[in-house]
Symmetry: C2
């Protein structure tokens, strides 16, 4: 290290001390290839071995946008009820509502096969940055670079798939500072083993969502099968019913979906002032419409239940994020971080210039995005057409176009590596509720009309001289795409079958396809690509200046976080690190067992069997975000001590900045799971499997 660089480090270190910036105590969603060895050693005197890391990685599972882990050698899998909920919902029949009643397979034969579920286990990681950089080197035009990058990524993925038979994905880390090739083993035969009633899984409902103290049994179990038999999963987490104790070090390994921790202050202000309000407007529209729809009768309430919960969850999460962004204290942290980086770069003219150029580029993308934002969100992101049936139609229309192109020129989601999953989604016989489809489509068409203006020529063509609600009804009544066989026929037929179809939903998808693609192209050229490069530069700078102390933003891929089980002062009152079964019953009584604080009959009848002092949920300082739901919490010995299912209100701003003053991850305690299985559900067979590690 030369003197100059050293001096710079001193200045930075001082700045950190002054501003309280730098990696905060338990911050970070770390790559398994680059864990926070220094922090763990210094603060916890813990050094993870390669075996420890590999075993944990291979025990982890990506589950439909959430996380899970193997908990026996026979393919048994633990995740959150709210992660498994979509799969459980699909098992609904007129005489079976497993969300309401819960489910326990008393034998292997009773395990219920789920449709449309794909699980991924990360088998290997390979760095491919050099190959991609080399492919891009000759080009400077952003659009060309984007095309080349896409082509190279696709080539790498195809080669890898061809060689290994494993699902292969190139992951863009540090906003393009680093590229990894991830190879996954895929499981598609997934069967439901146990799910509690939703009333106990999400006890407290929307009011308690993102809150603590908390008393939820937000878990369920599935089993993966291969060739009709339980899969052999030698890497699984040993169950530790003693669970996490106050002050204990715990790790969480899972798939955080997305963070935006590098975002510049200007960019965050744009999100605060423009994007977040628009997103919340959309969610509020939907929530109000779904609530009104649900109130009409019990059948509507059932059909709309999942969509409503998802909408409320999104609204509450964004409310917390927006509250963070509107909090001057939080924005000051971000401003100080930016200033610290500026000062750190100041000593090196090239770095200083790069820093300012990156900030300038990002700032320029804001008005560029503003110009196309509404069209891009409405048409390409499909916010104007909030409907499963429209999504089918768009996939069919685009598939017909895209499959006629060479693999690397296709839109990313239509490349060979994704085709199988795409078709699975299209062919699954998911129940469609026409009234719900009409309601949601009407709501989004009305938003589209408002946002683009009633006299927009495309709006006029979309509406065909109808009001939004009438148009929605006609589209849903007229389309045949609710029938999986019809969808299947259109995929298997030639492209002309789609092009000539007079299905109104397909016609609508065709009508908006060209402008939607145009908006996507403009977005990529004027916003996505320059922004990626600028954030890549910033990430690069940070890496050069601060070395390994930096982790990349979340990308929906496997990460490791560490933290301590720890209470906190919340709004004038000490919140203990864990809650108990006693508190669950006390809370239900306080609310006179009225929803969302009702309890299943068995819980009330068998209350006496439980130790009311035993811990139920606990909080820790682990740095998590949406997508981590279902991540196992493990101790130093790699044993499962809990499963994370939520963050508290103060954690919602973690999208942008981690603070551990009040922010906490909320988990179900491992002991509470076994206790409930044995005492409430008579599920000793399942509890035995957990505790023995095999069937």
């Amino acid at each position: 290290m030369n003197h100059r660089r050293f001096a710079c480090f001193i200045a930075v270190a001082l700045a950190f001390a002054f501003f309280g910036f730098s990696i905060q105590a338990d911050e970070g969603m770390w790559l398994f290839t680059d864990p926070p060895r220094k922090e763990l050693k210094e603060k916890y005197n813990f050094e993870p071995s390669k075996e420890w890391l590999d075993h944990l990685r291979l025990s982890c599972v990506r589950f439909n946008g959430g996380s899970a882990s193997f908990v026996s050698g026979d393919g048994l899998l633990l995740t959150n009820h709210h992660v498994g909920m979509y799969a459980i919902h699909k098992l609904w029949t007129p005489d079976r509502d497993l969300l309401e009643t819960g489910f326990l397979a008393r034998s292997r034969e009773e395990e219920l096969k789920c449709s449309g579920v794909e699980l991924n286990v990360l088998m290997s990681v390979e760095e491919v940055s050099e190959r991609i950089e080399k492919a891009l080197a000759p080009f400077s035009d952003p659009a060309e670079r984007a095309r080349r990058r896409r082509a190279e990524m696709t080539a790498i993925e195809s080669e890898s798939f061809f060689e290994t038979g494993l699902k292969s994905e190139v992951v863009t880390l540090y906003h393009g500072g680093l590229y990894h090739l991830y190879r996954y083993k895929v499981y598609t035969d997934v069967r439901l083993v146990f799910a509690p009633e939703e009333s106990i899984a999400s006890f407290g409902g929307d009011p308690d969502n993102f809150e603590y103290p908390r008393c939820d049994l937000d878990v369920c179990f599935f089993r993966v099968y291969e060739d009709g038999n339980p899969a052999k999963t030698p890497h699984y987490l040993k169950w530790n019913s003693t669970g996490a104790r106050d002050g204990e070090l715990v790790f969480m390994a899972g798939h955080p979906g997305r963070t935006e921790r590098l975002k510049t202050v200007k960019h965050l202000e744009y999100i605060r002032d423009v994007e977040m309000p628009a997103a919340m407007d959309k969610l509020r529209r939907l929530e109000v419409a779904l609530l009104a729809f649900s109130q009409r009768n019990a059948e509507n309430a059932r059909c709309a239940g999942i969509a409503l919960r998802g909408t409320q969850n999104g609204r509450k999460a964004r409310l917390g994020m927006l509250a963070g962004l509107q909090d001057p204290e939080i924005m000051k942290i971000k401003r100080d971080e930016e200033e610290t980086l500026r000062r750190a770069a100041a000593d090196d003219p090239k770095m200083a210039a790069d820093f300012e150029a990156a900030l300038h580029t990002i700032e320029k993308t804001l008005p560029a995005y503003d110009k196309i934002r509404v069209e891009y969100e409405m048409l390409e992101q499909g916010e104007a057409f909030h409907s499963t049936l429209f999504n089918y139609a768009r996939t069919l229309v685009r598939m017909a176009d895209e499959l006629s192109k060479p693999n690397e020129e296709r839109l990313r989601e239509f490349r060979d590596s994704n085709l199988e999953a795409l078709k699975r989604g299209l062919f699954t016989d998911t129940p469609i509720f026409p009234d719900l489809e009409s309601e949601m489509l009407s709501c989004s068409l009305s938003m589209y009309t408002e946002r683009m203006g009633y006299d927009d020529p495309l709006v006029r063509r979309v509406m065909e001289d109808c009001s939004p609600s009438r148009r929605a009804k006609l589209l849903v009544r007229g389309t045949l795409l609710a029938d999986a066989d019809v969808r299947c026929g259109l995929v298997e037929g030639d492209a002309a079958a789609v092009a000539e179809s007079n299905d109104p939903m397909i016609q609508l998808a065709r009508l908006v396809d060209a402008p939607a693609r145009a908006a996507r192209k403009t977005y990529e050229q004027a916003v996505g690509e320059p922004r990626n490069r600028a954030y890549g530069m910033l990430a690069d700078l940070r890496f050069k200046l601060f070395g390994e102390s930096i982790y990349p933003d979340a990308t929906g891929t496997l990460r490791l976080s560490f933290g301590t089980v720890k209470g906190y002062w919340g709004d004038g009152k000490w919140e203990a690190p864990s809650t108990t079964f006693g508190r669950l019953f006390y809370t239900a009584e306080m609310h006179q067992f009225a929803p969302p604080y009702s309890l299943p009959k068995e819980w009330i009848e068998r209350r006496g069997r439980l130790d009311e002092m035993a811990p139920l949920n606990f909080v820790s300082t682990n740095d998590i975000i949406g997508g981590n739901s279902g991540s196992p919490a493990v101790n130093r010995d790699g044993e499962l001590v809990g499963i994370v299912f939520d963050g508290n209100l103060a954690s919602l701003v973690w999208d942008y900045v981690y603070t551990m003053k009040q922010g906490r991850a909320v988990s179900v305690h491992a002991g509470a799971i076994v206790e409930s299985l044995r005492k409430i559900y008579d599920a000793d067979r399942l509890a035995d499997e957990l505790q023995h590690g095999s069937l």
Copy 2:
């Protein structure tokens, strides 16, 4: 009538025939001074006598923004439960929730005195157009004209009050084409006699609001007192339990709040594209916040109940209005109306020029309004500070300023004629729920931040470096204005007491007062005044061209509508003109008696006593709008046959245009009221009073 004018009438008549414009069959909210004699004679062979009109007018009562009527000579008053609800809500104590349990006074002594209610009976009407025109004649500057008009109106009101002792209001009709002086007798000692449980009063809740078929007992009874005794009310409506029959002519007399039937197409487009979306955004924010707040616990739900219902009602109403405006068929009617007026005026160059000038002026006010809209709505209309406590603070701050000015120079709401009502509102001991105040204030401050932009200097000063939710909490915790004595002290003290107060809510009201007043002034000069004049010109033109066939837009003052009890074809199915008690029970059963379809215990137990074939609610073609709620429905003989409480979905567009294809007013049948009183509530004493007309 000269030939030219006659030719023009022919053309217009043809145009009407072709376009389906003109007064539609049962259209109109008519002045009692100018009833639709021609239409009634031609279509119904009915000629209302002066006595008939006077008796009906003097039996009608304006009730807190709604309508009511006397139904006995001893001051007994019938209105809707949802109109009386606010007064009933104020009677709440920890052991008494009359909205939930309902109420029946078994003797006069048990009648419950309500606070903060003011009832008005229209005693006389006098035209004062000439006097106002004369006062305005020398002036052409809009601001000066507005000031002069205000001064003259105030002078007329003051003189009238001095002379008669009656509450006196100058009403602007035809957008300034006509001015009437209305004199009201005021009642303030109002006592609750009977209210059913809210579950039966608004059976079906939000899902059934603005819908038909319908099964609600949306009624309640009050009695007005004078000097501690039941007031003598010789003008009251005779009860007719046979009620309204299919095909029968019925009149409704009440206080429609506001219609916008003259609005130009450009103006309607602006409402459709800008104002309505903004208003709905505000309502959705509030609805979502109130729902989440209510879900936390039963106490919250109770506190927020009325605000939530009001918000849902507003959202659903606007949804219907917006659907109408987004419906090309409706806009075509408006466009044709405008074209018809243009052609009718074309033969007279002065008229033609006036017409185009008016349209042009209105069009010019749209961008002018657009420039100040957000500031005006947020600051002057108080949308940024949705809180009862803030309203108190603003009233106190402004009162201190305004009372130091001569009467005619004050803001309208602070003139002598309004002072008493204003003080009554300020001194009433209305319960304040601090958590609810914080929630609503937080919600509106957040909207204010978003709409004006986070970096707006006034926003920064309002927020005092806090997030909206923290700022709202601090304001509500810090203010002492929840205490009526504190408010009273500030009014009774000198102006300095308010100016020097360090109450944070008062300080906030002071901070925003100057910009709010500035926005109001700009609004009046650039929008309100020119718009009034232009719509006045259009109204004038219409009057000149179409004579008495035109009624003025609703103004919250007494009007008469006529119509027929009549079913309709709704969405492919014939809706019968009335529902029955049988349908009520059937609907409750279909929904398994779950809220909002639950029934009070007595209704279930005593079901057998009711004739299930007897009519409960009925629909008619009467032209009504918000504010008509509680209007009596009377027959040719002036007897009460029902009470209107709602319009169906297709009627919501009546704000802008009346269509009777599907739009209907929905009423409770007079027979059903007496039947319920006797069979369900054992309220024979009250039923006897109705049927005998006296105690």
